[in-house]
Amino acid sequence: MAANDTLEGCFELMGGDFSNAGAASSELKSILTKLGISADIVRRAAVTAFEAEMNVIIHAVAGTMHYMIIDNTLTITLNDMGPGIESIELAMQEGYSTAPDWVREMGWGAGMGLPNIKKYADIFKIDTVVGEGTTLEIYFRLKGEKC
């Protein structure tokens, strides 16, 4: 693929749909692998996509995961309709979680998802409106990649 080609796609996510959890991120991981993106970036992108996907499933009503590759940058955007985040500062703290008990029993709700995304992304932005929803933008630089 030439340097200036755009490549993109989108997945639908449903809040509460634990049985399909991870389907979008697994698919994205295999798409990125097939594109010849380096294993390290694929690994990091897959972790961030999965944590963001889980947050929509756990905390929101519905959302989308969109990916785009342009100008040697991979952008993963998650957009949801949901409660929004009251304090981003609190949400970014490891261990802070509002997940209900039954979700914690599954091993989610450790309050590690957003810190994980921050750790693995090159750049990470949150935009949220309480009572409306949340948008996450996650960026990876693809310097020296084939595509």
Partner: protein
């Protein structure tokens, strides 16, 4: 070099879903918190957990886990088995508790850990 099948044999594990058991194991991670596994497990690790629900398969796929081991004789849920078969993720059961199994595995694999 230890493969999943060699470990299964030496530890007497019950292989419930057989993915690629010829995979070479790079080490092991023990946790029941899924985002902790997302953060700290490495490619080709074994993952020891008590969680039996289908999301463990998604975590294993995303993180490139070589095999999942359930302890205390716990069985995976039916849906977990179905998903693991579809994704070719190996799931094994140990009669041991987590501490005993991790100890035995540590003795076998400590030379593999970074």
């Amino acid at each position: 070099m230890l493969t999943v099948s060699a470990i299964a044999e030496r530890l007497g594990l019950n292989v419930v879903v057989k993915g690629d058991v010829s995979r070479t194991v790079s080490g092991c991670y023990v946790s029941d918190l899924l985002s902790d596994v997302m953060a700290h497990s490495k490619d080709d690790n074994l993952w020891i957990t008590l969680q039996t629900h289908p999301n463990i398969v998604a975590v294993a796929v995303i993180k490139g886990i070589a095999a999942v081991i359930l302890t205390n004789g716990r069985s995976p849920e039916a849906e977990t088995v179905r998903k693991a078969e579809a994704e070719k993720v190996t799931i094994m059961i140990s009669a041991d508790g987590t501490f005993e199994l991790a100890g035995r595995l540590y003795a076998m694999t400590k030379d593999l850990q970074p």
